[in-house]
């Protein structure tokens, strides 16, 4: 019987990025004991990579902004598949959450009046992103971390959860291992919050790090929870593409917010060529007006580079496919051109986009103050995730909560830039609050030790196979092949035959993953860790593919070449996947509840 160490917490938070930290802080403030599990070291989660800012209708730069406009922008960006109650709560509560960060020590850039400065971003009608240069995510996670460590939270660094534990219908804990020593850990908890982030490692070109293997998605799915909107994957339009080793690393939308423009190899600003009808009246029709908008002219309309990410990514793909790409297969993002408009442009760029300057200079030998950057789409975010109650963030399994990227509902078919950081704060806080309340109302459940033993034994099997034979499946190879297949077959542009092929391939990978073998011992063994992450990656890959087949239309982040148009009938429901009785993946449609009259009115008013 494998040994394990046991921990007791009222609330266990799995994941220590923005959402997890915020949930842990809130739960702790409610007077319950909290354990926080981080897959990496504390403060290294992917939130750190967020660059542009936190969307919140503070109205410090343009007083016309308010929650209603933010709500309408979010719904329009999500093509109305959003859980409208979440979009409403988010727009209303984001400003308070940003102010809270300031009270905990965050230092945002300032307006001339000394208030929090806000910048323009794609899909947001007014300057709305509170930011710190282009390292807002670092500021946010560090603020939460530095505040959080004084709140009596027990932090478990470098631990990975293998499975949730259930007592009848309810989640009562989790079982995992510590990466450093490879020892098993059992967490007994009254409520569990999942805040594990995304699934980027299912794709070859991604801005996500090794951690993002869909752990929370798969843990919830395996525990019987619903996943929703999994077909909606966001490819950020601007990732680095050269040199090959940096392909996928993010180039912030802030570059475009500060006046950066996209050009093809012919020098044409191709974003003017295709402006969707829904955005036409709010989009500049000439370059001068676009520039004025970036300079804060309230009468000017925004440049087409700041259309939503799904649209910009598709325009870039079109330019590349039609032979107007650059030498490395991307298009050009140019911020250096602003020297024609303002004095001291290089200094201005370095001040506004310091980490972009640094990143290109060091990794690509490109000085962005003089030279355009070559960029292309990179898998960045998944809109889909664990289906939650909009007020409490509880999943369809009692005692199991979810927040942040692994949750679902706010973003619909496409997420607006900046809405992720505010999502983490607003719904992380709510998840923490309601998980604490659940923990207070429910006694500790009982742990099924047979279940625990079987999880532990399964986790050790790759070692047994490794000692038996040297000619077995290596974990890295399976992961790399899966990434290539998902990129090729279920990427930005999808078709039915390709997705059927993907399902067949995933089936083969599942079989190979069951035969995966690792060598060495349990201490910090990256091969073993990769092997244990594989089933999660395969579960989310299957969920993405099955959901994408179900949606026979194109909408937001989901584009099908065989159904290139939006179909009204498909706007009436969300696609749900859940585990069937024979462990098969079931796909069902769930009708979207009708929008209340007052919210409908807000949307109509904002369309004018």
């Amino acid at each position: 019987m494998p040994e394990y160490q046991k921990f007791e917490h009222d609330v266990l938070v799995i994941g220590a990025g923005g959402a997890g930290l915020r949930a842990a802080i809130e739960a702790s403030a409610a007077g319950v004991t909290v354990g926080l599990v981080c897959k990496s070291l504390l403060g290294k989660a992917h939130t750190v990579m967020a660059e542009g800012g936190i969307a919140a209708a503070l109205g410090t730069v343009n007083s016309a902004d308010n929650w209603k406009v933010h709500f309408a922008d979010t719904m329009r960006g999500g093509q109305y598949l959003n859980v409208w109650r979440m979009a409403e709560i988010h727009a209303k509560e984001a400003p308070t959450c940003v102010r809270e960060l300031e009270a905990w020590g965050a230092v945002f850039d300032r307006t001339p009046e000394g208030d929090i400065l806000q910048r323009n971003f794609g899909g947001h009608r007014y300057p709305r992103l509170a930011h710190v240069g282009d390292r807002t995510g670092l500021e946010m996670i560090r603020t939460l971390q530095d505040h959080g460590v004084h709140q009596g939270i027990d932090v478990h660094m470098e631990c990975t959860i293998l499975s949730l534990l259930k007592d009848a219908d309810r989640v009562v804990g989790a079982f995992g291992y510590d990466r450093q020593r490879g020892r098993f850990l059992l967490f007994h908890a009254r409520a569990v919050v999942l805040a594990t982030g995304g699934v980027g490692r299912a794709y070859k070109i991604t801005s996500n790090s090794w951690e993002y293997t869909g752990d929370g998605h798969a843990l919830a799915y395996n525990a019987g929870a619903d996943l929703m909107d999994m077909e909606f994957v966001q490819f950020h339009p601007t990732g680095m593409i050269w040199p090959p080793s940096v392909a996928g690393i993010l180039v912030t939308e802030g570059v475009r917010g500060e006046g950066g423009v996209l050009r093809n190899s012919k020098g044409r600003r191709f974003m003017f060529d295709d402006i969707p009808e829904a955005y036409r009246h709010q989009t500049a029709d000439n370059e001068e007006e676009g520039w004025k908008y970036c300079q804060g002219d309230k009468q000017a309309r925004r440049p087409p580079e700041l259309l939503t990410r799904d649209h910009v990514a598709r325009c870039i793909v079109r330019e590349i496919k039609e032979g107007r790409g650059g030498p490395h297969g991307g298009v050009f993002l140019d911020i250096s051109w602003i020297k024609e408009k303002i004095p001291n442009a290089p200094d201005h760029i370095k001040k506004k986009l310091p980490s972009m300057y640094h990143q290109f200079k060091q990794l690509a030998d490109v000085d962005i103050t003089t030279t355009p950057m070559e960029v292309g789409p990179t898998m960045h975010y998944i809109m889909g995730g664990i289906r939650v109650h909009p007020e409490t963030q509880m999943s369809t399994v009692p005692g199991l909560f979810a927040a942040g990227e692994c949750g679902c509902g706010l973003h619909g078919a496409n997420r607006l830039g900046g809405n992720s950081l505010s999502d983490l704060l607003v719904f992380g806080k709510r998840a923490g609050k309601f998980a604490a309340a659940f923990a207070k109302e429910h006694p500790a459940g009982s742990i099924n030790t047979d279940q625990v033993d079987s999880i532990a034994r399964r986790a050790l099997e790759p070692f047994e196979r490794g000692t038996r034979s040297t000619d077995t499946q290596g974990p890295y190879q399976i992961q790399h092949e899966l990434q290539a297949k998902m990129q090729e077959l279920v990427g930005i542009v999808r078709t039915e035959p390709e997705m059927l092929m993907a399902l067949e391939e995933i089936g083969k990978f599942q079989k190979r993953a069951r035969e995966v073998a690792v060598h060495g011992n349990r201490e910090y063994n990256s091969g073993w860790h990769t092997a244990l992450d594989l089933p999660n990656l395969l579960t989310v890959s299957e969920a993405i593919t099955r959901s994408a087949r179900e949606r026979r239309e194109s909408r937001g982040g989901h584009f099908r070449e065989d159904y290139p148009n939006k179909d009204k009938a498909f706007g009436e429901f969300n696609v749900i996947v859940r585990r069937g009785p024979a462990a098969e993946m079931k796909v069902v449609r769930e009708s979207i509840p009708p929008l209340p009259a007052e919210l409908k009115q807000i949307i109509e008013e904002q369309q004018k």
Binding site: S40, L41, L42, G43, K44, H46, V48, M49, R99, A103, G105, V107, F108, D109, R110, E113, G114, D115, I116, V132, R135, L138, E139, R142, D146, H147, V149, H150, V155, M157, Q180, S209, W210, E211, W242, P243, P244, S245, V246, I249, S355, Q359, Q362, L363, A364, G474, P475, Y476, Q477, H480, V518, H519, G520, N521, E523, Y524, N525, S526, G527, W528
Partner: protein, 246 residues
């Protein structure tokens, strides 16, 4: 395709040695890419800590040809490749395995520093007003990605192991960010003088040199803090006042 040899330290605190791995390299590769390639193809169980691969999270700190650096930001074309590139773990922290060290001491140290304590809000809605030039100074310190390379290179920790008496450059930067925060009302000068060991720093500026975020640690953080300590604790008139107050 060209190839290069990497001499990577493998083992635990008890025993270990350098192993040579030769692998193919391509344009633009960084040291971390080479380590990943070796890990995937030749040494599946090699321990290496990393995350963002873009110099933003500060996870992949190591010593490359003897210099403390981020593996993800060190390009191979900046290194002489005619001889093996040595990659070793940081030296100021206990080794766990291969390139991974136990940096938990840093997290314990931070917890002991008095937390941010803002002045009452400036505006009835509960918010504050600050000028950009006042926040600029603090923002430099808040760029820190906690890679702990400054802690690694600091001889007070590395050679003299004063971990119990000295918090190291990282946390002087942290204290400086708090002390110079326009809203903060806490006073950390006394603990700096007594418990945090700032006197051990003899301004060799090694920390500033290795900082991947180019924070001017010594000049902008440590020296001003030392001045505050001197002003408050060693100024003869203030000392007299303090004695009278007791």
């Amino acid at each position: 395709m060209a190839s290069a040899t990497f001499s990577i330290w493998r083992g635990t605190a008890e025993q270990g040695k350098f192993f040579n791995y030769t692998t193919e390299i391509s344009e633009g590769m960084v040291v971390l890419d080479a380590v990943h390639k070796i890990q995937a193809e030749q040494a599946n169980d090699m321990a290496v800590r990393w995350n963002c691969k873009a110099g933003k999270c500060g996870s992949c700190s190591a010593e490359i040809n003897g210099m403390p650096r981020l593996m993800c930001m060190t390009r191979l074309n900046q290194l002489p490749l005619e001889r093996p590139v040595t990659i070793e773990p940081m030296k100021s922290f206990p080794l766990i395995k291969d390139l991974v060290t136990d940096v938990s001491w840093n997290f314990r140290v931070k917890k002991q520093i008095k937390q941010f304590k803002p002045r009452p809000p400036d505006v009835p809605d509960g918010s504050w007003r600050m000028q950009q030039e006042d926040v600029d100074r603090v923002q430099e310190f808040r760029k820190c990605i906690e890679c702990f390379l400054c802690q690694d290179v600091c001889h007070v920790l590395r050679e003299h192991h004063k971990h119990e008496e000295f918090i190291g450059p990282r946390f002087f930067v942290y204290v400086a960010a708090l002390e110079m925060h326009p809203l903060d009302m806490e006073n950390r000068v006394e603990e700096l003088a007594k418990a945090k060991g700032i006197g051990y720093c003899n301004i060799t500026k090694c920390c500033t040199k290795v900082c991947p975020e180019s924070i001017t640690i010594t000049d902008n953080a440590i020296i001003p803090l030392k001045e505050r300590v001197v002003d408050e604790f060693y100024d003869p008139i203030k000392r007299l006042f303090r004695r009278l107050r007791r």
